[in-house]
Every structure is written in C-alpha cells, then in structure tokens.
C-alpha cells in the first residue's frame, strides 16, 4: 500500500516522524487485541487511522488533580501511544498548551467553530454545582464551559473517576456539590474511562477506536468500554490461584505476603473492580498495585472513596462498629431468651392443663 499520504493526515504525520508502516501496524495489531476486535481488523484500523484527518480534540479540566493528564503523558516515549496524541489535533488543553489567557480561550472557540459537530471533547475532573465560583477557567464556570463546549461535540470521553462518577470531590460530604459529566450532559454519547487515574493505554485505545470506526465502542451499564472494563481485576489477577486455595496474607509483612499470596483479607477490592490493570498493567506493562504488594483500592468504581476502609476485607461489614454489632447481638440474644422463656411457659402451661384423653372424651356431649 504505497499510496501517497494525503496532506494533514495521520499517515503523513507518521512519515514525517520516521515511524515505519511496520511499526504502525504493530501498534494497530496490539490495539485491536486490546479492544477485543478480530485480528483482521488490524489492517482495517491501520488503513482508517493513517488516512484519517487529524481529529480535533478539546480537553477540558475541571475539579481534578491533573493526575489523568499526568497518566497519559507518563506513557513511555517514544511509544505509539504517545505519538498518536500528536496525530490528533489537541486544540485545547490548558495544562499542556503553550498559549495562555485570551489566546488560549480563542483557540478553543476556533476549534469549536471550525469543527462544529465533529470534534471530540475529553473531560477530566468533576463539575461543582454547589457554587459556580468553586472552579472557574478564564472567569467561566465549569458548568457553563461544559455546556457550551459539549453542544458541538461529536462525542464526549469522560476521563478519570472524577469526570465519570464524581470521584474524590464527590466523596462524602461532597462540599462542592460535585457531579459527573454524565449527570449534566444527557444528549451526547459519553464514553466513561474511569480510574484514578485511568491506564494510559485504555485512554489511547478508546481514541483509536473512535478514529477507526467513527463511533463509540460497546459500553457496559456504567458507560465503560467493555473491552477494557469487561472483567474484574480479581478474575484476571495472577494471585487468583491463591484465593481459590484459601491462601491469604494476613498482614503486609508476614510470610504469606512475601510468598505473594492473595491480598483479599488485607482489603483488596479486586473482586468488585472492573478494570484492565491485571492484564495491561502500568508503566509500559511493568507492574500493577497487586503485583507490587498492595491490594486494589477499586479506583475505577463509582464512589470508591466512600465504599468502606481500604484495608478491610470485602466480606467485613463497613458501616457497623464492633460495639454496635456486639450490642445488636446482645439485644438479639436477650430478645431470643425472652421469647423462648415465654414460649416455654406457654407450652408448659398447655402441658399442665392437659387432661388425659379417654375414649369417653372423644365425643362432644351434645353430639
């Protein structure tokens, strides 16, 4: 396929950067595998992406910690995951862009006007509804900016647990009245890519899917791409055999922990967390939390911060204290004793009142 690359296309950009077609195909093959697409789709993806015009992307950051941006920039360079970002046209990202002040906002307005109905909107951070002044950019409240930018977007990718489900800002008692993108925008397709932060390759994978097919991938009930969030950490965890054998670490420094046994009893939330950490891993496939000896904290699940102590096993109650439980047990036992005593006295009275049945007494006198 030695056709001339169209000017402004991804293929041309790749060529300019000295990326061979072979390397690009390798990336596409890995990507199709990750997205759980048939192998034959690799060349289709390569074709589609290399011919695509650079996709205009606007990235808005609201109540966030910049961790999501950190994550996506932490992907090792030079990798194709990193490069594909250069292959889109990131028209606005207030952490990464060089422009500032009025020029920065002008860039956003220009991109919105020039790609009306076509640009992709990426959001990280939650939106405060408590008071518009809690978080503003260039004097515009997060809420207003989201509404304004979302209007002309082809689709929205909510990145990170704050944008997808409210995240840390929404944690009890939610002082800013934080909500997720999906709580506000109802008329646009939204892809949720939760995680605190999300895995870089998951973010780039979702973008690749959008570039290839021009639509959004298959999502689960919580709006997450099934290809990355279809299974729990637990089901894909390399420590799962220990769980099945009932081999658990009891403390972080015991013999069992050193042997790499299951961290369930130390509060691992792997069994209830849907994410790809156990398969794609982090830092270019180096490791993930459980591999480095710490249980999963369930950061890609809604309200994970309020889902009980991080170091308490899932099977333990999270809301009741030991005193409450003890009190409830004692009250239950006392009630049980009282009812049993009452029932026994009822039955004893019935026994005492028993008159021996004789054959004469089998009939009623009036009968």
């Amino acid at each position: 396929m030695k056709q001339a690359e169209q000017p402004g296309s991804v293929g041309e950009g790749l060529k300019q950067r000295g990326i061979t077609r072979r390397e690009f195909l390798k990336f596409c093959t890995a990507m199709t595998a990750m997205l759980a697409l048939p192998p034959a789709m690799a060349s289709v993806m390569a074709e589609a992406i290399s011919k695509a015009r650079r996709q205009s992307v606007i990235w808005l950051s609201f109540q966030e910690c910049t961790g999501c941006t950190e994550s996506i920039t932490r992907s090792h360079s030079p990798t194709l995951e990193n490069l594909i970002f250069d292959l889109i046209s990131l028209d606005y990202h207030h952490t990464l862009q060089a422009a500032s002040g009025a020029a920065a906002e002008h860039a956003r307005e220009l991109a919105m006007k020039g790609n009306e109905g076509k640009y992709l909107l990426i959001v990280d951070g939650s939106i405060p509804l408590g008071n518009p002044g809690y978080s503003t950019i260039a004097g515009i409240s997060n809420y207003d900016m989201l509404l304004e930018t979302a209007r002309g977007a082809a689709a929205i990718v909510a990145v990170g647990t704050c944008a997808t489900y409210g995240g840390l800002p929404k944690a009890d008692p939610n002082p800013t009245g934080a909500v997720s993108v999906g709580d506000i925008i109802k008329d646009k397709p939204i892809i949720n890519v939760p995680g605190c932060p999300p895995i870089p390759v998951v973010m780039t994978g979702v973008l690749a899917h959008f570039l290839t097919f021009g639509n959004i991938p298959e999502l689960d009930a919580l709006g997450r791409p099934k290809s990355f969030y279809g299974e729990t950490i637990h089901d894909r965890c390399y420590r799962r055999p220990f769980y099945d054998q009932g081999k658990f670490a009891q403390t972080f420094d015991d013999e069992a922990a050193r042997k790499g046994w299951c961290l369930f009893k130390l509060g691992c939330k792997g069994p209830v967390t849907y994410n790809a950490c156990a398969t794609t891993k982090w830092n270019d496939g180096t490791s993930f939390p459980i591999q480095s000896g710490h249980g999963c904290i369930g950061c890609s699940e809604p309200n994970f911060w309020d889902a009980g102590p991080l170091y308490k096993a899932l099977s333990m109650p999270v809301s009741a204290t030991a005193a409450m439980l003890g009190g409830a047990a004692a009250a239950g036992a006392a009630a049980g004793v009282a009812i049993t005593w009452h029932n026994r006295s009822t039955k004893a009275a019935a026994k005492a009142a028993h008159e021996k049945v004789t054959v004469q007494e089998l009939m009623r006198e009036e009968k």
Binding site: I339, T346, K347, A350, H354, V357, V359, L362
Partner: protein, 422 residues
C-alpha cells in the same frame, strides 16, 4: 366429661414443638406439596394442598409462639380458631390425608407435613372433631382390645384352623421365644393365609416364635385418631407382653401404621427404649433369606408388580427387602412408575379406610393407583400391608379391574421348599 374446644386448643399449644415451629416458619408457599398429594392430583381442588390442611394449627403457632403473633393477639387483631373452623377442617385432616408422607419428600425446605398432621389430630380429637367411625374404632381398640372388636377366642379359632391345615403347632405364650408375632385385625378376619404362611416359613427356618394372648393386635387406632394417651395404652400392651415373654424381637405384621406405631412412635409414647427389637415381617424374612434359612423352589410365572405401603417403604425404610424376596419367587416382576420411596398411597392409610364418610373421596383418589397398576400391564399385585390390600381390592372392584392382590409373605410361602425335618 366431654371433648371441648378449649381442650383442643390447649392440645394444639402442647404439640407445637421445635420441628413444627421451624416447619411453619420455613414454608415458602411454593405449592409443590399439592402436586405430591393424590387427593389434590385426583380432584384438582386447592383445599387439598397438604400445608393448607394445617392452617388452624399454623394460626395457633403464629398467635401463641411468635412475637408478632403475640402482639397481634394482645391487640385483638388476630382471628381465633373456632369450633366452626375445626368442623370445616375435619375432613381435610382426617378424610384427605393418609399420613402417606409423599408431600414431605418433595418439600424444598424439608417440612414434614405428615408429622404435623399427626400432631394436629391430637387437638382435633381432644376438641371432639374426630370422625365418628374412628372414635368407634378407637373405643373398641381400648375397651375390647381390637378396633374390629376381635377377642382372643376368635384368634384361637383361627389358630386351630391353621394347625389343622398345616399340621404345624402354633406356639402361644411361649416364654423365651425369639420372636413375638403380632397380627392386624384384617389378617385375623380377612387374611388367615398370613398366619398359615408364617407357621410354614418359621418351621422351615427353625425359628422359635410365639403369640401372646393379651397382645395379638398390632394396629393402633390411637395413632390414627391422634390421641397419644390412648396410643400409649394400646402400645403398652405389646411392650408388657414382649417383656414378660422375654422375646428378642417383636414382628410387626403386614400392616403399615402398626409398624410406625410400634417402631417409631412406640418408645416415644412409652418414654423409654424397648428391651427388644421391632422389625417388620419383610425385614425378618429378608434376614432369614440372606442367612440361607428361607429356601424357595420354582418361580411364579405370572407378571406381577409390587405396591410399596407408605409406612413401610417411605416412612419405614423397608424398600430393598421386598425386591430381594420377590426376585426369588417371581419370574416377571415389573416395577410400577414411582415405585419405592416415591410410591403413591393406596388412598386408605392413616385411618381413612376406617372412615366411611371418606369412601367416595378415597375411591376417587384410587385412580392414581389404578393408573400405576395399568402401566405395568400386570394382573397380580403384591403388597405387604393388609390395609393397603383391602383398600386396593375395593378400588379394583369399584373400577371393574381384574387384578388379584396378594400378601408378599403368603406368596413366599407358596414357593417354600417343604422338607421333613428329622
């Protein structure tokens, strides 16, 4: 002195124990027990759902032994059990339940409805809501010694007849014998073949046995009507006689509820373990057969099938023994559908056959047994309960079926190797 509602309700309170409380509280109202009950399957009437037959007892449990029920009763919110209600329930508790226990086999939470009906009858009897015929039978059992009014002279006459026929002496009041043999009234009056068959089998096996003058009757109307005070009196006659004659084992005859009364309820009624074993005649015959003491010759050519009596198979656990024995003497033995522990009742157990009011319903329910027999294509039906036998003979007669019914013991005796002992 008379039965009163107060006595009945007091009795309900008295019989409710931990099993009954857990049964009522674990019922999930699935209705599976209905499909297991032949009175429901043959009538399609929902009132014959086994657990429904216990409704008055359930309400007493709920009102007297549960917290919410107690509160409701104290506030006057609950409906008390009345005489009128018990009158309405009488046919459900006595006429449409043979205590066959099939419902308990299918209950997904393991509720034993039979156990509960048996206990509920205590209150029904104490409140004067037992069927007249059962009251009569029970009165005869207590005052005369047998529900059919049979006295020792009648047994003696049969002994003489059997001795003349077989030439074998029937031992009576023999102290130190191994087995005490009991009979049911049905066998004494309708099926003298049983005693004659036993004499011949025991002679061949060289077993020492005896009859007792004051304890020949195995049946226990006290169990059927649900009066433990009377059941205890009736069962104690057998216990006293067995201990007086120092027998090792008491043989329950071919009768269903007699086995239940003596083997399972007996020690509980007496409040102590027996000094002797209780076995069903089929268990004894099977033991003799395994020991090589029961030898048969030839096989019956007729295709035949076996009806498992509920109290002996399902409630008594004697399932394999009749099959082993039958294979010795039957050339073409055919199992009926649902044979064994899931067999269908003849329709007349648990006092139903003694209750003339229940006859039309019993005959209607017999259709299930009719279908089972027809499915085997046989015209010879073997069983091991004289009550099942008489009920089935009546049913077969009613539906104009040409099927002969035989007791397993007498069938075995027909093929016995008769050897002259020197």
């Amino acid at each position: 002195m008379s039965a009163t509602l107060a006595k009945g309700l007091n009795s309900f309170k008295e019989v409710i124990d931990a099993p009954i409380a857990s049964f009522f509280s674990s019922c999930v109202h699935c209705g599976l027990c209905a499909e297991a009950c032949l009175f429901y399957t043959e009538t399609g009437d929902a009132k014959y759902t086994p657990i429904h037959k216990l409704e008055p007892l359930r309400r007493v449990w709920q009102q007297e032994y549960t917290l919410l029920g107690k509160v409701g009763k104290a506030l006057g919110l609950s409906t008390p059990v009345t005489d009128a209600e018990l009158t309405e329930w009488e046919p459900l508790v006595y006429d449409s339940c043979t205590l066959c226990g099939r419902c308990a086999m299918v209950c997904p939470v393991g509720n034993d409805m039979t156990y509960m009906i048996r206990k509920m009858r205590e209150g029904m009897a104490a409140s004067g809501h037992a069927p007249e015929d059962l009251v009569g039978a029970t009165t005869r059992a207590v005052t005369i010694g047998s529900p059919m009014g049979i006295k020792w002279p009648a047994v003696l006459a049969q002994i003489k007849h059997v001795q003349a026929e077989t030439g074998i002496e029937v031992p009576v009041e023999k102290e130190g014998a191994e087995y005490l043999v009991l009979m049911s009234s049905m066998e004494i009056i309708n099926f003298p073949e049983y005693l004659s068959a036993l004499s011949r089998i025991f002679k061949q096996a060289g077993v020492s046995w005896t009859l007792a003058q004051d304890a020949f009757e195995a049946t226990n109307s006290g169990i059927q009507i649900g009066a433990s005070d009377l059941a205890r009196e009736i069962v104690s006659r057998i216990v006293v006689a067995a201990e007086r004659l120092k027998v090792k084992c008491v043989i329950s005859p071919e009768c269903g509820h007699a086995f239940t009364a003596l083997r399972w309820e007996g020690p509980n009624l007496m409040g102590r373990p027996f000094g002797f074993e209780v076995k069903h005649i089929l268990e004894v015959l099977d033991e003799l057969h395994s020991a090589g003491k029961l030898k048969t010759q030839g096989k019956d050519k007729r295709p035949l099938t076996y009806h498992d009596p509920c109290q002996i198979a399902r409630r008594g656990g004697v399932v394999e023994q009749p099959r082993r024995l039958l294979h010795e003497v039957a050339e073409d033995f055919r199992e009926m559908p649902d044979a064994g522990t899931m067999n269908w009742c003849c329709g007349g157990g648990g006092g139903v056959s003694a209750n003339s009011r229940a006859e039309p319903l019993r005959l209607q329910a017999f259709k299930h047994k009719k279908g089972q027999i027809e499915a085997t294509g046989t015209q010879t039906l073997i069983t091991a309960c004289a009550n099942c036998r008489i009920v089935m003979e009546e049913g077969l007669e009613h539906y104009h079926m040409k099927v002969e019914v035989l007791g397993l013991t007498e069938l075995l005796a027909e093929y016995l190797v008769e050897e002259e002992k020197t």
